[in-house]
Symmetry: C2
Subunit: 206 residues, 2 copies
């Protein structure tokens, strides 16, 4: 019996395509400063190709497809374009505000447009708000992400009293927030390739 020799070989992995989504479209939104911090942190972390999606620029109308997205029969150009963009992503990071103890309509609407394109992909959440740090928005979002068969990361960033950490459009994270974001990016980097084999599996039964 020959003992196998295990040699550490440097594996050149293709970068993971990470879509960062700003969940607020409101003028004066504080999420933009948070998203810019996230964007910078992802670049520093390395290993990701980032697609930065500003839902205000994307400007999707309220879901206006007549067929359920499970059929993937899109009538509108905006849906086809959004579908292709989400399809191309391996992982997601949502910068999520909290409105009235729940999530933002713009983020949910962007999710509702598609179905298969989200499935079997990991998602991390950076939530912000006042006292609750956007956590009620995240709690309301969980069943939605679950319905779309997305896989949430264990580490998420919660930012209470976010306005106090923003100066002149720049967000200054605490060490804990920066550490949590690093943990999340690490998880996204491990979950994304791990989940690749299950992607599309439910397409067969849809």
């Amino acid at each position: 019996m020959i003992l196998e020799e295990r040699v550490a070989v440097p594996v050149s992995r293709p970068p993971i395509r990470l879509m960062v989504v700003i969940g607020s479209v409101r003028p004066g939104r504080l999420g933009l400063a948070v998203a810019l911090w996230v964007h910078e942190s992802v670049a520093k972390f390395g290993g990701f190709d980032v697609d930065f999606v500003d839902l205000a620029e994307l400007d999707l109308p309220f879901m206006n497809e007549p067929k359920h997205p499970k059929h993937r029969e899109y009538r509108h150009k905006h849906t086809i374009a959004w579908g292709e963009r989400v399809d191309a992503a391996d992982a997601f990071l949502f910068v999520a505000p909290e409105y009235n103890h729940s999530y933002s309509p713009a983020l949910k609407n962007a999710l509702d447009y598609l179905h298969h394109e989200w499935q079997g992909k990991p998602v991390g959440l950076v939530s912000y708000g006042d006292l609750a740090g956007g956590t009620r928005g995240v709690t309301a979002l969980r069943p939605v992400l679950s319905a779309l068969a997305m896989v949430g990361t264990e580490s998420n960033v919660e930012i209470p009293y976010v306005a106090r950490q923003i100066d002149d459009g720049f967000f200054e994270p605490t060490d804990r927030q920066a550490d949590k974001l690093t943990l999340m990016l690490d998880e996204l980097g491990r979950l994304s390739p791990a989940l690749r084999s299950v992607r599309g599996a439910t397409l067969l039964t849809a």
Copy 2:
């Protein structure tokens, strides 16, 4: 000691202004048929002046006011008009769909635009969907209604497999659904005047 004599005097109450809102704006929405049944039932019940709000016609953009609605300093005409319309209502009835195990973005967006205009007013929900009858959308909506200090009715209508009850654009209710709607309208009729005295109370501390 003189015993009071209680005499039943017919009280002429002004009608309650009930706003019925269709929570879906999607082409082909089944909620329209449900809302038409609701509208007809309210007319038969009597005692309500109905303001029928089709969010598709109202066509609010995603919340684009720079100031929190608590300040009631609206910049846009659409917000001022919506605020006046909601202000004029004494009670609400939302016909609420369920998308991805939660509420519709259009309904939440219409709620997010305002604050004081909703407070201390009763709201009943007619939810519809497939297996779950839209109940997960209602469950997600509850904390939102609570954050807006609205008062939910005990009786609500839940409609599972709604498509089976719609024929040629007309919704055919079961006896149970019709009874529940009657109970809800009765509650709205009693809650609305009862709550009148607390309306505006929290304005002082906002």
